[in-house]
Amino acid sequence: MTTGSSSNAGPAHKLVEAAIALLIALFGVIVIVGSLKAGINWGAEGPRAGFFPFYIGIFIVVSSAINLWNGLREDNDGLFAEWGQLRQVMSVIIPTAIYVGAMPFTGLYLASIIFIGWFMRWLGKYPWITVVAVALGMPVVTYFIFERWFLVPLPKGPVEEWLGL
């Protein structure tokens, strides 16, 4: 699974690093705001609900500021990843997001069959027979192990209802 493009272009590591530090800092600010809403002072039963997370939020903001500063000062001209590599990563994230988003409506089994099938056929270029065998086999095995032997219910959709499972 090598990347097709030979170009060494991609987002700079520094840039991504800075963005991540800023995002973490933003998370810290949200935590601080939420804590202020819950109350950070002392109430009748001692420190109120926001007391502890408030200081956590401050720690997050301060340490992110230091990380941002260190990251920008660092002499690192490297790439975060090449575009081709990121495309590979996205080719996993996007279908997984669709899979996960479809699960509440289709149930786990149907979504899994399509997801495994798609993955093997488009990324792995396997013959249909292998694709069908694995894509159908895995959910069937899952059904027996989880629902039958260990009695763990998994999400089901209209197809399972129609099959009466």
Binding site: G34, I93, F146
Partner: protein, 499 residues
């Protein structure tokens, strides 16, 4: 003496036919998990945790801990045969293991690795047997301030001992604490940080975080690197095994040193990965043929494997006796205890004798079973790695989704898992450590509770954390751990100045 009697009772529990079966299943699953990319000890145990909901707690913990031992063994297989560390703690094993395999000595390297793992684990279990009850009975006297001090020490060790930049460790850890705080406040019963989202009422479950951060994140990293497996074949037979066993006693000093390093690093939550590197580094510096390290020296396999397994095993000591897990996998096991209705910590040794000693006995047996399984089945496990990643990846993703769903039977959790996965990928790429984040989610509520209760007792004065010898000692140890790298730098500078 009482411990010995308890241990024998434990063996009686662990040797029940059902538990032996569960042990075997756990080891085999564990090795597979250790071999597969994207599935490690922590998320492997997290995914399989729901399967144990219907089991008795003792059998459940035996199965899950055996998965952990299996994963520890499994990591070595891929490191030696394919130069791909299946687990972070087996990175150091690749340094000499893979060159040995290239020289056609894969069998020797694997035997050395498995045997050293076994020795390390046995040493750690013996230590747990002797020390854990003492620690637990000592910890029974802890008040909230002492409890908080122990958490403080645990988290400070992360900052001081991890190889990531300290402020990144702190940032990751604090994000974990913040995530733990979301939802119902356990003391006042008030809602906080939910911003009106009903899905967040119960906060973030660390199991979802573990499956996302470690499982999905790892798959994304593997996709980016575009893995192609190329490697030696595993030939291991009795003659090679016996011959290697004859050689190994010569390295007893390395072995003993690695055991001690491993146990120490495992108890302080630095974990197996730094332990294996440290042990390798020291062995390289001390050994007579240290300059040959990296070219296929058997001692270079013995040192990291012994330490990694000793650390991985001894990580359960603070989990059982104090309720502070020493590694992400131990944290997942601790989460399991809570789900089965057991309270980890010193009271466990008083109230749940059968459970604790059954588990400890199963550690002895599990590692023996593990050694036999990996020695006999290496070729089968190695074959798993030849299954192309484009088949393995979707199957692992589906397994992760099933694991995430079955924690609370919620599809929202599955989406959350994917979000954690992307976050894990980005954080890992930017050198943020994930273990402290996960541990903070697990321990956040308890640490906060201890902190607030201490302050209640002292009317808000931080002086309570230095109010008696015990709590001050733990706090000062924590501060030393926190500033460890600074202290070390200062020491080297001083030595440099005087030399």
């Amino acid at each position: 003496m009482e411990e010995l009697v308890n241990l024998f009772h434990g063996f009686a529990v662990a040797l029940q036919p059902f538990n032996v079966m569960v042990m075997l299943v756990g080891i085999v699953l564990g090795v597979i998990i250790g071999v597969l990319p994207g599935l490690g000890g922590a998320n492997g145990v997290a995914i399989l945790l729901p399967l144990t909901f219907s089991m008795p707690p003792t059998s459940a913990i035996i199965m899950l801990s055996c998965i952990y031992w299996g994963a520890l063994f499994g990591g070595a297989i891929t490191s030696i045969l394919f130069n791909i560390p299946g687990e972070p703690w087996s990175v150091a094993t690749t340094f000499d293991g893979y060159p040995m395999a290239q020289k056609g000595k894969a069998g020797e390297a694997l035997t050395a690795a498995f045997t050293s793992s076994f020795v390390g684990a046995l040493f750690a279990v013996a230590m747990i047997t002797l020390v854990a009850p003492l620690v637990a009975s000592f910890a029974l006297q802890f008040g909230p301030a002492e409890k908080f001090a122990v958490y403080f020490l645990a988290f400070c060790s992360f900052v001081g001992l991890s190889k990531e930049p300290p402020f990144k460790t702190i940032a990751a850890m604090m994000v974990g604490f913040a995530l733990a705080a979301v939802g119902l406040d356990s003391i006042t019963g008030q809602l906080r940080l939910t911003f009106g989202f009903t899905e967040l009422l119960n906060g973030f479950d660390f199991l979802i975080a573990v499956i996302g951060l470690f499982g999905i994140g790892e798959i994304l990293l593997t996709m980016e690197e575009g893995l192609a497996f190329r490697g030696g074949t595993a030939k291991i037979n009795l003659r090679v095994v016996l011959q290697t066993w004859k050689e190994l006693p010569a390295y007893w000093v390395t072995s003993l040193r690695s055991c001690v390093i491993g146990c120490w690093m495992g108890i302080t939550p630095a974990g197996a990965t730094p332990a294996s590197f440290m042990s390798y580094g020291i062995a390289k510096r001390v050994a007579k043929n240290g300059s040959n390290f990296g070219k296929g020296e058997i001692e270079g396999v013995v040192a990291p494997e012994t330490a990694a397994h000793a650390a991985g095993t001894s990580a359960l000591l603070p989990m059982l006796s104090l309720g502070v897990p020493g590694s992400p996998t131990a944290a997942v096991l601790l989460g399991g205890l809570l789900i089965w209705g057991l309270q980890p910590g010193p009271m466990l040794f008083v109230e749940q004798k059968e459970f604790v000693w059954g588990l400890i006995a199963s550690m002895y047996l599990g590692n023996i079973v593990g050694l036999l399984v990996v020695l006999t089945c290496v070729p089968i496990f190695a074959a798993i790695l030849r299954v192309p990643f484009s088949i393995i990846a979707p199957l692992i993703l589906v397994l992760c989704a099933i694991g995430a769903y079955s924690v609370h039977s919620s599809t929202f959790d599955v989406m959350l898992m994917l979000v954690f996965g992307v976050i894990g990928y980005l954080l890992k790429k930017c050198n943020y450590p994930l273990a402290p984040l996960v541990l903070a989610i697990v321990l956040g509520d308890k640490a906060e509770e201890a902190f607030r209760q201490s302050l209640l007792g002292s009317q808000g004065s931080l002086g309570i954390f230095f109010s008696n010898t015990l709590v001050s000692t733990i706090m000062i140890l924590g501060l030393i751990a926190l500033f460890w790298s600074v202290i070390q730098q200062g020491y080297t500078r001083l030595r440099g100045a005087s030399a």
